[in-house]
């Protein structure tokens, strides 16, 4: 029973990190894509003021 419980605990923490890191990657991609689009529209390199 104890081993079984730890499997669920491990699964819970694994799911937490998959969701948080997955969302982090999604947001970083969204920022990069938006900056690329903006740079393309304005004719400037990303990051250039």
């Amino acid at each position: 029973m104890l081993a079984g419980n730890w499997a669920f605990v491990t699964a819970a923490y694994a799911v937490t990190w998959v969701v948080l890191l997955g969302y982090l990657a999604h947001v970083h991609r969204a920022v990069r894509r938006a900056r690329d689009d903006l740079a393309q529209m304005t004719g400037r390199r990303p990051g250039e003021a």
Binding site: M1, L2, G4, N5, W6, F8, V9, A11, A12, Y13, V15, T16, V19, L20, Y23, L24, V27, H28, A30, V31, R33, A34, R35, D37, L38, Q40, M41, T42, R44, G47, A49
Partner: protein, 235 residues
Amino acid sequence: MTTLVHPLVVPRPRGWSWFGGFAFAFLIVSQVTGILTSPPDRDMGDLQKIMYVHVPAAWITFLCFFVVLLFSLRSLWRGRERDDLLAASAAEVGATFNGLTLMLGMIWGRPTWGVWWAWDARLTSTLVLFLIFVGYLALRAFVEDPQRRAQWSAAVGVMGAINVPIVYMSVRWWRTLHQVQSSPSTIDPHYVLGLRMNAFAFLFVMIYFIHRRYEAAQVARAAEQAAEAAALGGM
């Protein structure tokens, strides 16, 4: 009339990367502290450790939707695009934490109740909240006119956020499977430190996520405006 972001004035916030790194490092420290410092619960055994991620995820979900409520009302009142983008950013982050809360609840429910899912008042109302905000995000994806998108999604955001108190009180109004709310005042003192640290860690991660999502929305909107201006020959 909405206030527009100038296409070339979307700052690249450097300090926030450090904050994000700090938030995730603090999350690791909090989880390790929670796991190592708490003895097994008398009834639940080590399953209690799921509380350190499940309960903060639920609290942060509620907080995100409170932010949605606040900025949706401001958006309806003042018509500023900034408020609309902030509400949308908080809604996406809130839906993510809401989904996580549901998954963690299922993982906890299987060994505790013997089932992955039950149509319990708390579970069902949390699922309804999740579906409302998935609908909110779908609505934003399908409406192209920024002003209509802002108004319609603000209305859905306000209605969705009204469900938060119902979800919170559901365990008291309809006593079924889910236990009443956990908080530092209702749990054993051994578990308080881990719960508090993890709650703050989730809060920091939430702030970072909302900020980054808002940055993405701001830049995307600026690109849209630059495209519109180019199409009208204004560039």
